[in-house]
Symmetry: C2
Subunit: 320 residues, 2 copies
């Protein structure tokens, strides 16, 4: 099941929303021993299980679920998948530490830049920290109910860990992480450079997440109007320029590729719109402020992204 | 009443909305012979007159009103003040021609760039065409009811007219126009360069008109939030750069001045927000597209304004 002949790793899901729920159910379905930490939806999931309505995979119900309302009750997990919002990362540190086996791998399934940094300071050095970029159309439709519309790939990269972990050891861990998803039938790539992978994912998140909130529009209408198409392309171009200025590379034609992928996607409301609707804090630091600061420090202003960010800050402030 | 000892000019108001209604009532109150062309509000105004609720000037009712539903019924007017939206300028040409006395002066009380150009082609050369920039907080509160919150100054500049009109003659006409408003107790400046005056007014309209629609916010909340303040300042700075690139000058500290004026204004919903609410076409060509094109042609991109414009085009398209 993994690259080595060892016992298959035990997996903990920290934050069982759309992302944590989807990947947790898919991994459990593949035979992994998966444990779910929940807060507000604990009772619903403990009673009725997790229901995944997946366009590509059909209806999947995981019931009973190994569900927990307290990390103290979880068994030690080898891999911890964090699907919570970046805005709550530091609050999650105690639960992560509690649920982690010795030398565990913590994988943040989150968008945005430098989302690991705040959490890293709060974790013991013995834990490996990784980032995962999810290319997926999924949202939470109700307590314990996950609606999966399309895609599902995860790009995994290494952030930090024990000083004794050399580059080959780190890459092996990344490969192991990608292997979990592949075993679950999902596309997954091991990325040599996490920061670069995060910048690449921003090419999608910067335009679509923000514009969904700013314009109250899902992907289909945004892709149907000439002016929003041009704005999306301009925002994507700024992300690419920012990434290059920060020393990262982009696959040739990557922005055009993501633009075309989005045209073929089912109509989709990005996660930031769901956050907005539910009056949760928007992930503006991870997706906008930090990329803007990094690019600016590298001498690359991203003016349209900055305007979008400033407008979103205003909206976010009013929304809570 | 005017600079010369001639008969005071007869004034026609083409488009009696908030702007046309306000200036028409103020001019009538000052003793001018003012004639109002109306469409949808003709009956209401013919029956009940025009009511101006003015914070600085108090409640003023003009009743009866010399109101007309057809330009053919109007007497020949020496000055025609056009308060309609820029989006309907070419439709108004027949009414303007109909109501114009020989050698009449047509004054467009409108924001934005090059708003005279489309109309100019439709007017006979014998008519003088001028532009007026209104620094005023006013809106239409109902049929024939105008709410005036603050300010009221008009900057007047010359656009075009008979070839025999030399620079001094043109400037005299501009001074005569400014004199009308001054006689009505309003501040008014004769501007040597209309294009420059239009660029200066854009320093206010570009941020506040657009952001009121984009963020659903009036001036007070926009001025209370740090991020929207920074966005406003950045948009203003781009207008100033665009104006300079196009060869115009700006009074020193002009953007800062307008920013401070807005802080002291009563809470205000710009006209574009009212257009949006009433599902009228937004004045995006005059206030955004033409300044963007002019600045771009002068080698000056205005990226934040362009992003705002693209977002507004999407909103405008959805709104109708």
């Amino acid at each position: 099941m993994t690259a080595t002949a060892e016992q298959p790793p035990r997996i903990g899901i920290i934050g069982t929303g759309a992302i944590g729920g989807f990947y947790g159910v898919m991994l459990a379905r593949a035979g992994f021993d998966v444990h779910f930490l929940l807060r507000s939806e604990f009772c619903a999931v403990a009673e009725r299980g997790l229901q995944l309505h997946s366009a590509p995979f059909g209806a999947l119900t995981l019931n009973p679920v190994q569900a927990y309302s307290r990390a103290e009750d979880m068994p030690p997990c080898d891999w911890l998948l964090v699907g919570a919002k970046t805005t709550s990362n530091s609050e999650l540190a105690p639960a992560i530490i509690q649920a982690a086996a010795a030398g565990a791998k913590v994988l943040l399934l989150q968008n945005g830049l430098d989302v690991e940094d705040g959490l890293r300071e709060l974790l013991p050095d013995s834990l490996h920290l990784l980032g995962g970029l999810c290319f997926i159309c999924v949202h939470r439709a109700g307590p314990g109910i996950i609606e999966h519309q399309a895609l599902g790939a995860v790009h995994v990269g290494y952030h930090s860990g024990p000083v004794m972990a050399d580059a080959p050891a780190r890459q092996q861990i990344v490969e192991q992480g990608a292997g979990l998803f592949r075993t679950a039938g999902l596309d997954s790539q091991a990325m040599a450079n996490l920061q670069q992978a995060r910048w690449q994912k921003l090419v999608w998140n910067v335009p679509y997440n923000g514009l969904s909130v700013l314009l109250g529009a899902s992907t289909s209408p945004l892709m149907a109007d000439q002016h929003s198409r041009e704005l999306i392309q301009a925002l994507m171009a700024e992300v690419v320029q920012g990434a290059l200025a920060c020393g990262h590379s982009m696959p040739p034609g990557y922005a055009e590729h993501l633009f075309k992928v989005t045209e073929k996607m089912p109509d989709y409301w990005p996660s930031m719109y769901h956050d907005f609707l539910q009056q949760r804090p928007l992930e503006l630091a991870a997706i906008y402020a930090r990329p803007l600061a990094s690019a600016r420090a590298a001498g690359c202003p991203m003016p349209k992204i900055e305007a979008l960010y400033q407008a979103l800050c205003f909206i976010d402030g009013r929304n809570r």
